[in-house]
Protein backbone atom coordinates (compact mmCIF):
# COMPACT_ATOMS: atom_id res chain seq x y z
CA UNK A 1 0.00 0.00 0.00
CA UNK A 2 1.15 3.58 -0.70
CA UNK A 3 2.00 6.15 1.96
CA UNK A 4 -0.96 7.24 4.11
CA UNK A 5 -2.47 10.63 3.42
CA UNK A 6 -2.67 11.35 7.14
CA UNK A 7 -0.69 9.67 9.84
CA UNK A 8 -0.55 10.13 13.58
CA UNK A 9 2.70 8.83 14.95
CA UNK A 10 2.74 8.19 18.70
CA UNK A 11 0.59 11.23 19.40
CA UNK A 12 -0.14 12.18 22.98
CA UNK A 13 -2.15 15.08 24.27
CA UNK A 14 -1.78 16.07 27.87
CA UNK A 15 -3.67 18.89 29.55
CA UNK A 16 -2.01 20.31 32.62
CA UNK A 17 -3.80 22.31 35.27
CA UNK A 18 -1.68 23.12 38.28
CA UNK A 19 -0.17 19.91 39.52
CA UNK A 20 -2.74 17.64 37.87
CA UNK A 21 -2.24 16.15 34.42
CA UNK A 22 -4.93 14.79 32.14
CA UNK A 23 -3.63 12.54 29.39
CA UNK A 24 -6.41 12.65 26.79
CA UNK A 25 -4.52 10.81 24.06
CA UNK A 26 -1.78 8.29 24.81
CA UNK A 27 0.76 7.36 22.17
CA UNK A 28 -1.83 7.08 19.40
CA UNK A 29 -0.87 5.71 16.00
CA UNK A 30 -3.35 6.22 13.19
CA UNK A 31 -3.08 5.96 9.40
CA UNK A 32 -5.68 7.24 6.99
CA UNK A 33 -5.24 6.50 3.29
CA UNK A 34 -6.57 8.69 0.49
CA UNK A 35 -10.22 7.93 -0.25
CA UNK A 36 -10.77 5.95 2.93
CA UNK A 37 -13.82 6.43 5.11
CA UNK A 38 -13.02 5.96 8.77
CA UNK A 39 -15.38 6.20 11.68
CA UNK A 40 -14.14 6.85 15.22
CA UNK A 41 -16.32 5.64 18.02
CA UNK A 42 -15.96 5.91 21.72
CA UNK A 43 -17.58 7.02 24.94
CA UNK A 44 -17.75 10.67 25.93
CA UNK A 45 -14.37 11.87 27.13
CA UNK A 46 -12.50 9.14 25.27
CA UNK A 47 -10.55 11.78 23.31
CA UNK A 48 -12.36 11.51 19.95
CA UNK A 49 -12.80 15.27 19.40
CA UNK A 50 -9.25 15.98 20.54
CA UNK A 51 -8.00 13.41 18.06
CA UNK A 52 -10.03 15.03 15.28
CA UNK A 53 -8.75 18.50 16.19
CA UNK A 54 -5.18 17.25 16.09
CA UNK A 55 -5.81 15.55 12.74
CA UNK A 56 -7.21 18.85 11.44
CA UNK A 57 -4.28 20.86 12.89
CA UNK A 58 -6.63 22.94 15.03
CA UNK A 59 -4.70 21.67 18.03
CA UNK A 60 -1.10 20.56 18.42
CA UNK A 61 -0.11 17.30 20.09
CA UNK A 62 1.95 17.39 23.26
CA UNK A 63 4.09 14.62 21.80
CA UNK A 64 4.29 12.78 18.49
CA UNK A 65 3.97 13.67 14.83
CA UNK A 66 1.04 14.56 12.60
CA UNK A 67 2.06 13.69 9.06
CA UNK A 68 0.21 14.84 5.96
CA UNK A 69 1.69 13.22 2.84
CA UNK A 70 4.77 12.56 4.95
CA UNK A 71 5.18 16.17 6.15
CA UNK A 72 5.07 16.80 9.90
CA UNK A 73 2.34 19.41 10.31
CA UNK A 74 2.86 19.69 14.08
CA UNK A 75 6.04 21.64 13.40
CA UNK A 76 4.53 24.07 10.91
CA UNK A 77 3.89 27.70 11.93
CA UNK A 78 0.31 28.91 12.46
CA UNK A 79 0.15 30.78 9.14
CA UNK A 80 1.05 27.61 7.19
CA UNK A 81 -1.45 25.54 9.13
CA UNK A 82 -4.19 28.08 8.40
CA UNK A 83 -3.46 27.81 4.66
CA UNK A 84 -3.28 24.02 4.95
CA UNK A 85 -6.70 23.83 6.62
CA UNK A 86 -8.15 26.15 4.02
CA UNK A 87 -6.83 24.12 1.09
CA UNK A 88 -6.84 20.50 2.28
CA UNK A 89 -9.35 20.03 5.07
CA UNK A 90 -13.06 20.52 5.47
CA UNK A 91 -14.65 20.54 8.92
CA UNK A 92 -18.21 19.71 9.93
CA UNK A 93 -19.17 19.97 13.59
CA UNK A 94 -22.11 18.89 15.69
CA UNK A 95 -23.31 22.50 15.77
CA UNK A 96 -23.42 24.05 12.34
CA UNK A 97 -21.34 27.09 13.42
CA UNK A 98 -22.63 29.13 10.51
CA UNK A 99 -21.87 32.85 10.77
CA UNK A 100 -25.19 34.43 11.65
CA UNK A 101 -24.43 37.76 9.88
CA UNK A 102 -23.93 36.10 6.51
CA UNK A 103 -26.42 34.49 4.16
CA UNK A 104 -26.27 30.76 3.35
CA UNK A 105 -24.49 31.50 0.07
CA UNK A 106 -22.00 33.85 1.73
CA UNK A 107 -21.26 31.28 4.44
CA UNK A 108 -20.42 28.73 1.76
CA UNK A 109 -18.34 31.27 -0.16
CA UNK A 110 -16.21 32.29 2.81
CA UNK A 111 -13.45 29.62 2.68
CA UNK A 112 -13.00 30.32 -1.04
CA UNK A 113 -12.82 34.06 -0.36
CA UNK A 114 -10.23 33.44 2.36
CA UNK A 115 -8.20 31.53 -0.20
CA UNK A 116 -8.13 34.68 -2.34
CA UNK A 117 -10.72 33.62 -4.90
CA UNK A 118 -12.64 36.42 -6.58
CA UNK A 119 -16.18 36.98 -5.41
CA UNK A 120 -17.67 35.80 -8.70
CA UNK A 121 -15.63 32.60 -8.74
CA UNK A 122 -16.40 31.84 -5.11
CA UNK A 123 -20.08 32.53 -5.73
CA UNK A 124 -20.06 30.18 -8.71
CA UNK A 125 -18.49 27.36 -6.69
CA UNK A 126 -20.79 27.92 -3.73
CA UNK A 127 -23.94 27.99 -5.89
CA UNK A 128 -22.85 24.78 -7.57
CA UNK A 129 -22.69 23.05 -4.19
CA UNK A 130 -25.97 24.53 -3.01
CA UNK A 131 -27.61 23.18 -6.17
CA UNK A 132 -26.16 19.74 -5.46
CA UNK A 133 -27.66 19.99 -1.98
CA UNK A 134 -30.97 21.24 -3.31
CA UNK A 135 -30.61 24.46 -1.35
CA UNK A 136 -30.19 27.00 -4.16
CA UNK A 137 -33.54 28.63 -3.27
CA UNK A 138 -32.29 29.14 0.29
CA UNK A 139 -29.05 30.81 -0.74
CA UNK A 140 -30.11 34.32 0.33
CA UNK A 141 -31.50 33.16 3.66
CA UNK A 142 -29.68 33.85 6.88
CA UNK A 143 -28.89 30.90 9.20
CA UNK A 144 -31.66 31.89 11.59
CA UNK A 145 -34.12 31.49 8.71
CA UNK A 146 -33.08 27.89 7.99
CA UNK A 147 -34.10 24.61 9.62
CA UNK A 148 -31.58 22.52 11.58
CA UNK A 149 -31.12 20.10 8.68
CA UNK A 150 -30.65 22.94 6.19
CA UNK A 151 -28.13 24.62 8.48
CA UNK A 152 -26.09 21.44 8.72
CA UNK A 153 -26.25 20.89 4.94
CA UNK A 154 -25.00 24.45 4.42
CA UNK A 155 -22.17 23.63 6.86
CA UNK A 156 -21.31 20.58 4.71
CA UNK A 157 -21.31 22.75 1.58
CA UNK A 158 -19.02 25.24 3.32
CA UNK A 159 -16.65 22.42 4.30
CA UNK A 160 -16.48 21.23 0.68
CA UNK A 161 -16.33 24.48 -1.28
CA UNK A 162 -12.55 24.38 -1.43
CA UNK A 163 -12.66 20.76 -2.67
CA UNK A 164 -10.54 19.50 0.25
CA UNK A 165 -8.84 16.12 0.27
CA UNK A 166 -10.10 15.29 3.75
CA UNK A 167 -13.43 15.87 5.45
CA UNK A 168 -13.29 15.74 9.23
CA UNK A 169 -16.63 15.58 10.97
CA UNK A 170 -17.31 15.67 14.70
CA UNK A 171 -20.76 14.27 15.51
CA UNK A 172 -22.25 15.79 12.34
CA UNK A 173 -25.64 14.20 12.97
CA UNK A 174 -25.62 14.57 16.74
CA UNK A 175 -28.00 17.51 16.71
CA UNK A 176 -30.41 16.32 14.02
CA UNK A 177 -33.60 14.29 13.88
CA UNK A 178 -33.57 10.91 12.15
CA UNK A 179 -34.67 12.19 8.76
CA UNK A 180 -32.11 14.99 8.61
CA UNK A 181 -29.47 12.69 10.07
CA UNK A 182 -29.99 10.22 7.23
CA UNK A 183 -29.83 13.02 4.67
CA UNK A 184 -26.49 14.16 6.02
CA UNK A 185 -25.13 10.61 6.14
CA UNK A 186 -26.20 10.15 2.52
CA UNK A 187 -24.49 13.38 1.52
CA UNK A 188 -21.22 12.35 3.11
CA UNK A 189 -21.02 9.16 1.08
CA UNK A 190 -22.28 10.85 -2.10
CA UNK A 191 -19.63 13.50 -1.88
CA UNK A 192 -17.02 10.95 -0.94
CA UNK A 193 -17.63 9.25 -4.26
CA UNK A 194 -18.12 12.45 -6.26
CA UNK A 195 -15.05 14.27 -5.00
CA UNK A 196 -12.85 11.34 -3.97
CA UNK A 197 -12.96 12.53 -0.37
CA UNK A 198 -11.20 10.95 2.56
CA UNK A 199 -13.65 10.84 5.43
CA UNK A 200 -12.86 10.76 9.12
CA UNK A 201 -16.04 10.97 11.18
CA UNK A 202 -16.52 10.90 14.93
CA UNK A 203 -19.99 9.71 15.87
CA UNK A 204 -22.10 8.09 18.52
CA UNK A 205 -24.69 7.10 15.95
CA UNK A 206 -24.46 3.34 15.52
CA UNK A 207 -26.42 3.36 12.26
CA UNK A 208 -24.13 5.96 10.79
CA UNK A 209 -21.05 4.09 12.04
CA UNK A 210 -22.27 0.87 10.47
CA UNK A 211 -21.99 2.43 6.99
CA UNK A 212 -18.22 2.89 7.36
CA UNK A 213 -15.91 0.17 6.07
CA UNK A 214 -13.39 1.02 8.80
CA UNK A 215 -14.34 1.70 12.40
CA UNK A 216 -11.98 2.50 15.23
CA UNK A 217 -12.91 2.67 18.89
CA UNK A 218 -11.12 5.03 21.23
CA UNK A 219 -11.15 4.28 24.95
CA UNK A 220 -9.43 6.34 27.63
CA UNK A 221 -7.07 7.91 25.14
CA UNK A 222 -5.96 4.88 23.19
CA UNK A 223 -7.34 2.49 20.61
CA UNK A 224 -9.44 -0.26 22.00
Amino acid sequence: MSEPLLRLDKVSKIYERGDSKLEVLQQIDFDVYAGQAVCILGASGAGKSTLLHILGTLDRPTEGRVLFNGKDMAKEPDEHLARFRNQEIGFVFQFHHLLSEFSALENVMLPARFAGQSESKAREHALELLQLLGLEDRSDHFPSELSGGEQQRIAVARALVQRPKILLADEPTGNLDTQNSEQIQELFFQFRLKFGLTLVVVTHDVNFASRFPRRMVLKDGHWN
Binding site: S49, T50, H53, G56, L58, D59, D78, E79, A82, R83, F84, R85, N86, Q87, F91, F93, F95, H97, L99, S100, E101, F102, E106, L110, P111, R113, F114, A115, G116, S118, F142, S144, R158, Q162, D170
Partner: protein
Protein backbone atom coordinates in the same frame (compact mmCIF):
# COMPACT_ATOMS: atom_id res chain seq x y z
CA UNK B 1 -7.24 47.81 -2.56
CA UNK B 2 -6.02 44.29 -1.80
CA UNK B 3 -8.64 41.55 -2.02
CA UNK B 4 -8.07 40.53 1.63
CA UNK B 5 -8.61 44.14 2.72
CA UNK B 6 -11.83 44.30 0.69
CA UNK B 7 -12.94 40.99 2.20
CA UNK B 8 -12.15 42.24 5.70
CA UNK B 9 -14.08 45.46 5.20
CA UNK B 10 -17.03 43.51 3.79
CA UNK B 11 -17.01 41.16 6.79
CA UNK B 12 -16.73 44.05 9.23
CA UNK B 13 -19.64 45.79 7.54
CA UNK B 14 -21.71 42.64 8.02
CA UNK B 15 -20.66 42.39 11.67
CA UNK B 16 -21.58 46.02 12.26
CA UNK B 17 -24.98 45.46 10.64
CA UNK B 18 -25.47 42.13 12.38
CA UNK B 19 -26.97 40.54 9.29
CA UNK B 20 -29.98 42.45 8.06
CA UNK B 21 -30.32 44.93 10.86
CA UNK B 22 -29.47 48.49 9.97
CA UNK B 23 -26.97 48.89 12.77
CA UNK B 24 -26.32 47.20 16.03
CA UNK B 25 -27.12 49.46 19.05
CA UNK B 26 -23.71 48.91 20.68
CA UNK B 27 -22.06 50.16 17.52
CA UNK B 28 -24.40 53.16 17.35
CA UNK B 29 -23.36 54.10 20.90
CA UNK B 30 -19.67 53.67 20.13
CA UNK B 31 -19.96 55.74 16.93
CA UNK B 32 -21.95 58.43 18.79
CA UNK B 33 -19.27 58.69 21.48
CA UNK B 34 -16.57 59.24 18.89
CA UNK B 35 -18.78 61.64 16.91
CA UNK B 36 -19.37 63.79 20.00
CA UNK B 37 -15.65 63.91 20.72
CA UNK B 38 -14.82 64.90 17.14
CA UNK B 39 -17.59 67.52 17.09
CA UNK B 40 -16.42 69.02 20.41
CA UNK B 41 -12.83 69.17 19.16
CA UNK B 42 -13.90 70.65 15.85
CA UNK B 43 -16.04 73.38 17.43
CA UNK B 44 -13.45 74.34 20.04
CA UNK B 45 -10.64 74.43 17.47
CA UNK B 46 -12.86 76.44 15.09
CA UNK B 47 -13.53 78.98 17.87
CA UNK B 48 -9.87 79.32 18.91
CA UNK B 49 -8.55 79.38 15.33
CA UNK B 50 -11.34 81.75 14.34
CA UNK B 51 -10.48 84.05 17.23
CA UNK B 52 -6.83 84.07 16.21
CA UNK B 53 -7.66 84.74 12.56
CA UNK B 54 -10.29 87.38 13.30
CA UNK B 55 -7.87 89.20 15.56
CA UNK B 56 -5.11 88.99 12.95
CA UNK B 57 -7.38 90.14 10.13
CA UNK B 58 -8.56 93.11 12.19
CA UNK B 59 -5.00 94.17 12.86
CA UNK B 60 -3.82 93.59 9.29
CA UNK B 61 -6.82 95.38 7.79
CA UNK B 62 -6.11 98.41 9.96
CA UNK B 63 -2.37 98.49 10.20
CA UNK B 64 -1.01 96.44 7.30
CA UNK B 65 1.63 93.81 7.87
CA UNK B 66 4.40 96.15 9.01
CA UNK B 67 4.51 99.66 10.41
CA UNK B 68 7.73 101.67 10.12
CA UNK B 69 8.01 104.88 12.16
CA UNK B 70 10.86 107.33 12.31
CA UNK B 71 11.93 107.90 15.91
CA UNK B 72 11.97 111.39 17.37
CA UNK B 73 9.65 113.25 15.05
CA UNK B 74 7.61 113.30 11.94
CA UNK B 75 9.18 112.59 8.59
CA UNK B 76 8.73 114.09 5.14
CA UNK B 77 7.85 111.55 2.45
CA UNK B 78 10.35 113.13 0.08
CA UNK B 79 13.15 112.49 2.62
CA UNK B 80 12.01 108.95 3.21
CA UNK B 81 12.18 107.77 -0.39
CA UNK B 82 15.68 106.43 0.06
CA UNK B 83 14.56 104.57 3.16
CA UNK B 84 11.62 103.10 1.28
CA UNK B 85 13.99 101.94 -1.47
CA UNK B 86 16.12 100.26 1.19
CA UNK B 87 13.05 98.58 2.70
CA UNK B 88 12.02 97.17 -0.68
CA UNK B 89 15.47 95.71 -1.25
CA UNK B 90 15.57 94.13 2.24
CA UNK B 91 12.12 92.59 2.02
CA UNK B 92 11.70 89.98 -0.70
CA UNK B 93 8.04 89.58 0.30
CA UNK B 94 7.39 93.34 -0.14
CA UNK B 95 4.18 94.09 -2.07
CA UNK B 96 3.14 97.70 -1.38
CA UNK B 97 3.50 100.62 1.01
CA UNK B 98 1.46 103.65 2.04
CA UNK B 99 2.32 106.68 4.19
CA UNK B 100 0.26 107.57 7.24
CA UNK B 101 0.02 110.23 9.91
CA UNK B 102 -1.31 109.42 13.36
CA UNK B 103 -2.52 112.24 15.58
CA UNK B 104 -4.07 112.03 19.03
CA UNK B 105 -6.94 114.35 19.78
CA UNK B 106 -10.43 114.80 21.16
CA UNK B 107 -13.82 114.53 19.56
CA UNK B 108 -16.30 117.11 20.78
CA UNK B 109 -19.92 116.74 19.86
CA UNK B 110 -23.29 117.23 21.54
CA UNK B 111 -21.65 118.37 24.79
CA UNK B 112 -19.65 115.14 24.99
CA UNK B 113 -15.98 114.56 24.41
CA UNK B 114 -13.72 111.59 24.07
CA UNK B 115 -10.08 110.81 23.22
CA UNK B 116 -9.49 109.63 19.66
CA UNK B 117 -6.77 108.57 17.26
CA UNK B 118 -6.95 110.34 13.93
CA UNK B 119 -5.22 108.52 11.14
CA UNK B 120 -4.48 110.29 7.89
CA UNK B 121 -4.28 107.83 5.00
CA UNK B 122 -3.33 108.28 1.38
CA UNK B 123 -6.47 107.31 -0.61
CA UNK B 124 -4.34 106.50 -3.69
CA UNK B 125 -2.05 103.91 -2.09
CA UNK B 126 -3.78 102.78 1.10
CA UNK B 127 -6.07 100.24 -0.55
CA UNK B 128 -3.05 98.12 -1.50
CA UNK B 129 -1.80 97.98 2.09
CA UNK B 130 -4.74 98.24 4.47
CA UNK B 131 -8.34 97.18 4.02
CA UNK B 132 -10.38 99.89 5.65
CA UNK B 133 -12.85 99.79 2.73
CA UNK B 134 -14.05 96.31 3.58
CA UNK B 135 -14.52 97.30 7.22
CA UNK B 136 -16.99 100.07 6.40
CA UNK B 137 -20.38 99.08 7.72
CA UNK B 138 -22.22 102.26 6.77
CA UNK B 139 -21.47 104.98 4.21
CA UNK B 140 -18.54 104.74 1.82
CA UNK B 141 -14.79 105.04 1.58
CA UNK B 142 -14.57 108.52 0.13
CA UNK B 143 -12.22 110.97 1.79
CA UNK B 144 -12.78 113.91 -0.59
CA UNK B 145 -13.57 117.21 1.17
CA UNK B 146 -17.13 118.41 1.28
CA UNK B 147 -18.08 121.95 0.19
CA UNK B 148 -20.44 123.72 2.59
CA UNK B 149 -21.17 127.47 2.44
CA UNK B 150 -17.99 128.04 0.46
CA UNK B 151 -15.90 126.22 3.03
CA UNK B 152 -14.17 122.88 2.61
CA UNK B 153 -14.93 120.34 5.31
CA UNK B 154 -12.69 117.27 5.42
CA UNK B 155 -14.40 113.89 5.32
CA UNK B 156 -13.89 111.29 8.04
CA UNK B 157 -14.71 107.67 8.60
CA UNK B 158 -15.40 107.02 12.25
CA UNK B 159 -15.40 103.90 14.39
CA UNK B 160 -18.84 102.50 15.16
CA UNK B 161 -18.25 103.00 18.90
CA UNK B 162 -17.77 106.74 18.31
CA UNK B 163 -20.83 106.83 16.04
CA UNK B 164 -22.89 105.17 18.74
CA UNK B 165 -21.57 107.24 21.64
CA UNK B 166 -22.01 110.58 19.84
CA UNK B 167 -25.09 109.50 17.87
CA UNK B 168 -23.36 110.52 14.65
CA UNK B 169 -24.92 109.68 11.31
CA UNK B 170 -23.61 109.82 7.77
CA UNK B 171 -23.37 113.42 6.59
CA UNK B 172 -23.35 114.91 10.09
CA UNK B 173 -20.59 117.28 11.14
CA UNK B 174 -18.52 116.98 14.30
CA UNK B 175 -15.50 118.74 15.80
CA UNK B 176 -12.05 117.40 16.49
CA UNK B 177 -9.54 119.12 18.71
CA UNK B 178 -5.79 118.56 18.58
CA UNK B 179 -3.05 120.21 20.60
CA UNK B 180 -0.72 122.30 18.47
CA UNK B 181 2.76 122.82 19.84
CA UNK B 182 3.82 126.45 19.98
CA UNK B 183 7.24 125.94 21.57
CA UNK B 184 9.03 123.85 24.13
CA UNK B 185 7.58 122.92 27.51
CA UNK B 186 4.36 121.44 28.71
CA UNK B 187 2.34 124.65 28.66
CA UNK B 188 3.20 125.50 25.08
CA UNK B 189 0.19 123.98 23.35
CA UNK B 190 -2.82 125.61 21.87
CA UNK B 191 -5.91 123.69 20.92
CA UNK B 192 -6.95 123.64 17.28
CA UNK B 193 -10.50 122.81 16.32
CA UNK B 194 -11.59 121.47 12.94
CA UNK B 195 -14.95 120.35 11.62
CA UNK B 196 -15.22 116.98 9.91
CA UNK B 197 -18.12 115.41 8.09
CA UNK B 198 -19.02 111.74 8.66
CA UNK B 199 -18.64 109.88 5.37
CA UNK B 200 -18.63 106.35 6.71
CA UNK B 201 -18.67 104.18 9.82
CA UNK B 202 -16.06 101.51 10.49
CA UNK B 203 -16.73 98.20 12.19
CA UNK B 204 -13.30 96.92 13.06
CA UNK B 205 -14.59 94.23 15.38
CA UNK B 206 -12.47 95.48 18.27
CA UNK B 207 -14.20 97.72 20.75
CA UNK B 208 -10.97 99.51 21.76
CA UNK B 209 -10.47 100.54 18.10
CA UNK B 210 -14.10 101.16 17.24
CA UNK B 211 -14.36 103.54 20.20
CA UNK B 212 -11.29 105.62 19.25
CA UNK B 213 -10.48 105.33 15.58
CA UNK B 214 -11.14 108.04 12.99
CA UNK B 215 -9.72 107.96 9.46
CA UNK B 216 -9.33 110.94 7.19
CA UNK B 217 -7.37 111.96 4.14
CA UNK B 218 -3.62 112.25 4.78
CA UNK B 219 -3.54 115.85 3.53
CA UNK B 220 -6.46 116.84 5.77
CA UNK B 221 -4.77 115.28 8.79
CA UNK B 222 -1.50 117.09 7.96
CA UNK B 223 -3.22 120.45 7.60
CA UNK B 224 -5.30 119.97 10.72
CA UNK B 225 -2.29 119.05 12.84
CA UNK B 226 -0.15 121.81 11.36
CA UNK B 227 2.27 119.31 9.89
CA UNK B 228 1.96 119.83 6.16
CA UNK B 229 3.90 117.25 4.19
CA UNK B 230 4.82 115.27 7.32
CA UNK B 231 4.03 111.65 8.00
CA UNK B 232 4.35 109.33 11.02
CA UNK B 233 5.73 106.55 8.86
CA UNK B 234 4.84 103.84 6.41
CA UNK B 235 2.57 100.88 6.46
CA UNK B 236 3.84 97.93 4.42
CA UNK B 237 2.06 95.02 2.78
CA UNK B 238 3.96 91.76 2.35
CA UNK B 239 3.09 88.60 0.45
CA UNK B 240 1.84 86.88 3.61
CA UNK B 241 0.98 88.05 7.12
CA UNK B 242 3.32 85.41 8.54
CA UNK B 243 6.28 87.03 6.69
CA UNK B 244 5.88 90.11 8.87
CA UNK B 245 7.11 88.60 12.13
CA UNK B 246 10.67 87.72 11.04
CA UNK B 247 10.75 90.74 8.67
CA UNK B 248 10.13 93.21 11.50
CA UNK B 249 13.19 92.07 13.46
CA UNK B 250 15.41 91.85 10.39
CA UNK B 251 14.33 95.25 9.08
CA UNK B 252 14.85 97.02 12.39
CA UNK B 253 18.43 95.71 12.44
CA UNK B 254 18.95 96.94 8.88
CA UNK B 255 17.40 100.39 9.31
CA UNK B 256 19.25 101.19 12.51
CA UNK B 257 18.20 103.07 15.64
CA UNK B 258 16.39 105.93 13.82
CA UNK B 259 13.52 103.66 12.87
CA UNK B 260 11.06 101.62 14.81
CA UNK B 261 9.59 98.63 12.99
CA UNK B 262 6.51 96.81 14.27
CA UNK B 263 4.67 93.83 12.84
CA UNK B 264 0.89 93.33 13.15
CA UNK B 265 1.58 90.74 15.83
CA UNK B 266 3.79 92.87 18.07
CA UNK B 267 1.17 94.94 19.94
CA UNK B 268 -0.71 91.74 20.80
CA UNK B 269 2.16 89.31 21.02
CA UNK B 270 1.14 88.10 24.50
CA UNK B 271 -2.45 87.65 23.42
CA UNK B 272 -1.46 85.59 20.38
CA UNK B 273 0.87 83.46 22.47
CA UNK B 274 -1.88 82.94 25.05
CA UNK B 275 -4.26 81.88 22.29
CA UNK B 276 -1.71 79.34 21.06
CA UNK B 277 -1.32 77.87 24.55
CA UNK B 278 -5.08 77.88 25.05
CA UNK B 279 -5.51 76.02 21.81
CA UNK B 280 -3.18 73.25 22.96
CA UNK B 281 -4.81 73.07 26.41
CA UNK B 282 -8.35 72.97 24.98
CA UNK B 283 -7.28 70.33 22.45
CA UNK B 284 -5.88 68.12 25.23
CA UNK B 285 -8.93 68.57 27.48
CA UNK B 286 -11.43 67.81 24.73
CA UNK B 287 -9.23 64.96 23.54
CA UNK B 288 -9.71 63.32 26.96
CA UNK B 289 -13.40 63.17 26.11
CA UNK B 290 -12.55 61.37 22.92
CA UNK B 291 -10.27 58.97 24.75
CA UNK B 292 -13.19 58.18 27.07
CA UNK B 293 -15.27 57.48 23.96
CA UNK B 294 -12.50 55.21 22.67
CA UNK B 295 -12.91 53.08 25.81
CA UNK B 296 -16.46 52.56 24.64
CA UNK B 297 -15.09 51.30 21.33
CA UNK B 298 -12.72 48.97 23.19
CA UNK B 299 -15.50 47.60 25.40
CA UNK B 300 -17.75 47.07 22.36
CA UNK B 301 -14.98 45.11 20.68
CA UNK B 302 -14.30 43.07 23.85
CA UNK B 303 -17.97 42.22 23.88
CA UNK B 304 -17.71 41.20 20.25
CA UNK B 305 -14.77 38.92 21.03
CA UNK B 306 -16.75 37.18 23.77
CA UNK B 307 -19.92 36.93 21.67
CA UNK B 308 -18.09 35.67 18.64
CA UNK B 309 -15.88 33.18 20.41
CA UNK B 310 -17.20 30.23 18.39
CA UNK B 311 -17.29 32.29 15.18
CA UNK B 312 -13.63 33.12 15.50
CA UNK B 313 -12.93 29.44 16.06
CA UNK B 314 -14.80 28.37 12.96
CA UNK B 315 -13.01 31.07 10.98
CA UNK B 316 -9.73 29.59 12.15
CA UNK B 317 -10.98 26.13 11.13
CA UNK B 318 -11.78 27.53 7.68
CA UNK B 319 -8.19 28.58 7.33
CA UNK B 320 -8.21 32.15 8.60
CA UNK B 321 -4.92 33.15 10.17
CA UNK B 322 -4.52 34.79 13.59
CA UNK B 323 -3.35 37.89 11.76
CA UNK B 324 -6.59 38.08 9.79
CA UNK B 325 -8.66 37.72 12.98
CA UNK B 326 -6.61 40.49 14.61
CA UNK B 327 -7.08 42.70 11.56
CA UNK B 328 -10.80 41.95 11.57
CA UNK B 329 -11.08 43.59 14.99
CA UNK B 330 -8.77 46.50 14.24
CA UNK B 331 -10.68 47.18 11.03
CA UNK B 332 -13.91 47.11 13.02
CA UNK B 333 -12.47 49.71 15.40
CA UNK B 334 -11.20 51.83 12.54
CA UNK B 335 -14.56 51.68 10.76
CA UNK B 336 -16.23 52.81 14.01
CA UNK B 337 -13.62 55.58 14.24
CA UNK B 338 -14.13 56.61 10.61
CA UNK B 339 -17.94 56.58 10.93
CA UNK B 340 -17.67 58.50 14.22
CA UNK B 341 -15.37 61.02 12.57
CA UNK B 342 -17.72 61.50 9.62
CA UNK B 343 -20.73 62.04 11.88
CA UNK B 344 -18.58 64.16 14.17
CA UNK B 345 -17.64 66.45 11.30
CA UNK B 346 -21.31 66.83 10.41
CA UNK B 347 -22.24 67.47 14.07
CA UNK B 348 -19.32 69.88 14.41
CA UNK B 349 -20.46 71.80 11.34
CA UNK B 350 -23.98 72.04 12.74
CA UNK B 351 -22.52 73.06 16.12
CA UNK B 352 -20.50 75.82 14.45
CA UNK B 353 -23.63 77.13 12.72
CA UNK B 354 -25.48 77.15 16.06
CA UNK B 355 -22.54 78.92 17.72
CA UNK B 356 -22.56 81.61 15.03
CA UNK B 357 -26.30 82.06 15.43
CA UNK B 358 -26.02 82.33 19.22
CA UNK B 359 -23.11 84.73 18.82
CA UNK B 360 -25.17 86.97 16.54
CA UNK B 361 -28.31 86.85 18.67
CA UNK B 362 -26.87 86.80 22.20
CA UNK B 363 -23.37 88.24 21.64
CA UNK B 364 -21.46 85.34 23.16
CA UNK B 365 -18.22 87.29 22.95
CA UNK B 366 -17.77 90.05 25.52
CA UNK B 367 -15.65 92.46 23.46
CA UNK B 368 -14.09 94.14 26.51
CA UNK B 369 -12.67 90.82 27.68
CA UNK B 370 -11.64 89.24 24.40
CA UNK B 371 -10.83 92.45 22.46
CA UNK B 372 -13.16 91.29 19.68
CA UNK B 373 -16.91 91.76 19.57
CA UNK B 374 -17.42 88.75 17.33
CA UNK B 375 -15.48 85.78 16.01
CA UNK B 376 -15.65 84.29 12.55
CA UNK B 377 -15.30 80.55 13.17
CA UNK B 378 -12.54 79.00 11.17
CA UNK B 379 -12.31 75.31 10.38
CA UNK B 380 -8.68 74.92 9.36
CA UNK B 381 -7.61 72.02 7.18
CA UNK B 382 -4.63 71.35 9.44
CA UNK B 383 -6.83 71.33 12.56
CA UNK B 384 -9.24 68.92 10.86
CA UNK B 385 -6.40 66.69 9.68
CA UNK B 386 -4.97 66.54 13.23
CA UNK B 387 -8.42 65.87 14.77
CA UNK B 388 -9.25 63.07 12.32
CA UNK B 389 -5.80 61.52 12.50
CA UNK B 390 -5.76 61.59 16.31
CA UNK B 391 -9.29 60.09 16.38
CA UNK B 392 -8.31 57.22 14.11
CA UNK B 393 -5.11 56.59 16.06
CA UNK B 394 -7.08 56.53 19.35
CA UNK B 395 -9.64 54.13 17.85
CA UNK B 396 -6.87 51.95 16.47
CA UNK B 397 -5.09 51.83 19.82
CA UNK B 398 -8.43 51.01 21.51
CA UNK B 399 -8.78 47.98 19.24
CA UNK B 400 -5.34 46.52 19.91
CA UNK B 401 -6.09 44.72 23.17
CA UNK B 402 -9.42 43.18 22.07
CA UNK B 403 -7.91 42.31 18.69
CA UNK B 404 -4.98 40.55 20.34
CA UNK B 405 -7.38 38.69 22.60
CA UNK B 406 -9.53 37.66 19.63
CA UNK B 407 -6.50 36.40 17.73
CA UNK B 408 -5.21 34.45 20.72
CA UNK B 409 -8.44 32.50 21.21
CA UNK B 410 -7.91 28.77 21.14
CA UNK B 411 -10.15 27.58 18.28
CA UNK B 412 -10.69 24.23 19.99
CA UNK B 413 -12.24 25.91 23.03
CA UNK B 414 -14.71 27.87 20.89
CA UNK B 415 -15.76 24.78 18.95
CA UNK B 416 -16.34 22.60 21.96
CA UNK B 417 -19.51 24.34 23.11
CA UNK B 418 -22.29 26.27 21.48
Amino acid sequence: MKSTTRLRIWMVWRYLREGRRFLNPNIILAVTGIALGVAALMISMAVVSGYETTLRDTLVDMEGHLMIVRRGGFARPSQERQVLKKIKSYLPAYKASTPFLMVEGLIVHNKKLSGILLEGVDPKTSAKVIAIQKRIIRGRFDLADEQANGKRIPAAIIGKGIARKFALKIGEIFNLVVPISTGYGTASFTPKVQKFVVRGVLGLGRSDFDDRYIVTDLRSAQNFSDMPGRISGWRIRLAHARDAIPAATALEDQLGPNYWVRSWRDPNRNLFEAVQYEKVVIFIIVLLMEIAAAFNVASTLYLTVVRRYSQMSILRAMGVSKKFVRQLFTTQGLVIGAAGSAFGVLLGWIGCRIFLKLETVYGLFPGKVYKLDHVVLQIRKTDMAVILLVTLVICYVATLAPARRGAKLNPVEGLRYE
